[in-house]
Amino acid sequence: MSQINRIDGGLIDQEKVLNFTFNGQILKGYEGDTLASALLANNKHLIGRSFKYHRPRGIVTAGSEEPNAIMEIGNGAYKEPNTRATVTQLYNGLEANSQNHKGPLSFDFMAITDFLSPLLGAGFYYKTFMWPKGFWEKFYEPAIRKSAGLGTLSTEADPDTYDKGFRHCDILIIGAGATGLSAALTAANSGAKIILADEDFLMGGRLNSETNEIDGMAGSEWAKKTVAKLGAMENVTLMSDTTVFGAYDHGIYGAIENRASEAREDNDKPRQVNWRIYTKRAILCAGATERLIAFGNNDRPGIMFASAVRTYLNRFAVATGQRISVYTNNDDGWKTAKDLNAKGFRVAAVIDSRSISPVMRVPGAEIYMATDVVDTKGRRALKSIQLSNGKSIDTDTLAVSGGWNPNLHFTCHHRGVPKWNEEIASFVPDSSPPVGMSVAGRAKGTMVLADAIIEGHNQGSCVAADLGYKTSESKPASTPVVSYNISANWGVPSGKNRAWVDFQNDVTAKDIKLANQEGFKSVEHVKRYTTLGMATDQGKTANVLAIGIMAENMGQTMEDTGTTIFRPPYVPVAIGAFAGRRRGMEFYPTRYTPSHNWSTEQNAIFVEVGMWYRSQWFPLPGETHWRQTVDREVRQTRSSVGICDVTTLGKIDIKGEDVSEFLNKVYANAFAKVPVGKTRYGLMLREDGIAMDDGTAARMSENHFVMTTTTANAVSVYRHLQFCHQCLWPDLDVHMISVTEQYAQYAVAGPNSRKLLEKIVDPECDISNEAFPYMAAGEITVCGGTAARLFRISFSGELAYEIAVPTRYGDSLMRVLMEAGEEFNVIPYGTEALGVMRIEKGHAAGPELNGQTSAYDLGMGGMISGKKDFIGYTLGLREELQRDDRMQMVGFKPVNTSDLLLAGSHLLGLRDKATTENDQGWISSCIYSPILGHYLGIGFIKGGHNRKGENVRAVDLVRGNDVEVEICSPHFVDPEGERLRV
């Protein structure tokens, strides 16, 4: 029983058989099929269950608007839920499974909800699960969660590859149907650069589904020839299987291209490409989408759009049934009967709700005018329909047309509001689409094909001419005029039977009525109360019908009822497509310092600091715990010499006649009189008086400073300095450039650091304590002429230097320093030891410069200059920022020196309960000091500066630690700074 519904012909290759499975059953289709057409060829109408009531559902449409036929495709990590079968191109080996049922598709245990439906109306959850209060979290919510959700995720990482791409054009034409192709022809002939995008893998739009004749040939043939002609032009880019999903600012469009077939061959190739298309103009030729009529039990498998029945018949050579009936309120529905007749199928009946004479003769069919379908029968497949005149007709497919809605979505992406057009009983685009966009064809409400073609043709040349391209006179393609008449029909009283409006979210006409009765009058409110139009199809087939029903309920016009706001994306777009290649390690760039390879050779453990990889510590053989390593690195540095890679610090070169004045304005402490050859510590505040960053600035010559910033703020400080210069003081003679990546920089710290450096610094450079004292800075040469910069600054508190060389010498310098230091047992140290030593010295860093602390809080109030205007001066003087009971930075040491102290601990009075009200502060940084032999921390406590000597508790409830600590000065090691100056 293979493909019993398949007939001859169609735009498919019936020579190429493709095997696929549906719920495990092996089926056959042909090249050119969609999954939906292949399922229908195999007479599979029942393809899923509905979301809320688990009603049996069938394929309704033949396009991206499909509400029902959403499936899980593939298996394992490749499984993708909610894939529309109507736009999934069939391939060999495709695995499809239906969603939303427990047990087999034909007998869903959850279908019990359908019988409970009188209880489950609009707002059911809001009304029902209110009481008793405690039940929500424990009972209701888990139960609802379990039964909710469309499809299931693989829960594995997405193994597919996605890419992003960028394209530029003069004119983007959205939609390659008759209108779009006509527009593309005239626009392309002018020489303008054209992109023609269409969501279908076969361009041509409805021409591929209908039997129109254009220029004396079949419409699909004309489309094929036109596409070939356009494809041969150099100025035209064709993008089929590419859905434009959003109109963004300034002529930028988002489009998602499906390349699944290519990706199946090679997993490194993208499954989808997320295109950003930059356009000067866009012509929207997106056509129209058919809509349903709300009648009793209008959701049975076998009830489809009339246009979809024609698509399956003409394009895919599939007859969706043996006894097909048509129910329509417009002329277009009759085409289905005509096409069926032409293929030799007898039509059971044509029912038209309008009080007019039959539009055409349909041999063999019962014709009922001014009649409605009021109910249907057949649980898993349509068996019969009941008419308003009492008749019952046996039928297995009902082709329904409620009219056409222009696909005007993009015209509303910038808040355009559609207008109601009574003549075609539909919303049409308003007069203000996004700048640069024009609309043609059925998307504009031009429903007659002949007119749409002329409109596309004219629009194409018009827009090209507007851009300055020369257009030549040419004739639009000709096609016989077929009129389109419609009389709105939103639905019929269906008594007890439910009439579905939104299939995917199971919203009925009754739900809308109930919402209206309960006071939800705005279309936006009704949407959220009933969930109408909120499913993955975004109500493409439901919304206008719902608005019609609302307007009738409330006795108001369509215009007054209005539409909900249209927002991108037009179709669901995988998150992976927005991420593109930026996943895992490619999420952002990785930055390595010049001596990274050397560190790797030393088996360094690395830590990510922003984008940088920094050495965290350097374990030696036999060291089993990181603390062993870090303790050794600290001891060795403090007793002899250690080297730390500090390349990641922000480095900014600043030159100009006004450079010291500039620094005086951006630093809180005085900078006007820094002597040449000296470095100064600098604290930068934000304008609101809060500490922003700290670092050093060394005066290399009269008009030249070299500034350092913290690693974390390198970019933002540079940006801030540029702001200060360009926006606040544009006439200061200052020029700056970031040299973070131009210099490799190493801290050489410890009592033997000078001795080590003297071995590599060229003899003509005197770095003795007298010639190069604490805070000295200067240009030197090393290793026989290599230019370097030397700064006698110390973060560790030891006699220390930072030496910078051009990046390309970084690796060699590290090796040279290590070799020269052998006699002193030099060691490299990482960021952990760096942290231990800075906390031992009480230097504030990231955890202390947390965006809440003033200079006073940090104990640096004394540094603040009162004699100059600088960023943060005035607002830093605010009373609130200088209060004595603010959280102030101090040191903490355990009273019992064997106690563990943890960063993040909160500070409490000795007998206080651990509650929020009693919280006095926190430990922000904490380490074990191998020098002092116990833990110590720095942190913030209310009024801390005046509480030194007082004991409090450091409590960490998460890790169960509660120890008594003494508030003390944060300067634990060498508080007088004597070691720095030797």
Binding site: Y248, D249, H250, G251, I252, Y278, H414, V435, D658, E661, E687, D688, V715, R719, Q722, F723, Q726, C727, L728, W729, P730, D731, L732, D869, Y873, T874, L875, L877, R878
Partner: protein, 96 residues
């Protein structure tokens, strides 16, 4: 969005970092006066919430590092003018 850089031509807004209103250029200069506290408070915190054209600061971080003054409609995102902040602030009387 596309920002038409006065030196570099049209650039994608992804290359820029946004700061805020050009009010930030009007930094008070009366730091020694008693009105300074109030004036700096206004400067730092008080902004008009304009429906229509506003002038705002964008920084071409992934480009030439110039600060730009962009005139943009908050209703439509249409950009009607782009100029160098350096020129703009000089016109506003800023110098050294």
């Amino acid at each position: 969005m596309i920002i038409n850089h006065p030196l570099l031509g049209p650039r994608d807004s992804e290359e820029f970092v946004y700061l805020g209103s050009t009010d930030l250029i009007d930094r008070p200069t009366n730091w020694e006066k008693s009105a300074a506290a109030e004036d700096f408070h206004q400067y730092q915190y008080i902004r008009e919430n304009i429906a229509g054209d506003i002038q705002e600061l964008w920084y071409h971080e992934q480009g030439d590092q110039s600060w730009l003054v962009v005139t943009r409609s908050t209703l439509t995102h249409e950009i009607s003018n782009v100029e160098l902040a350096q020129d703009f602030s000089r016109v506003k009387g800023r110098g050294k």
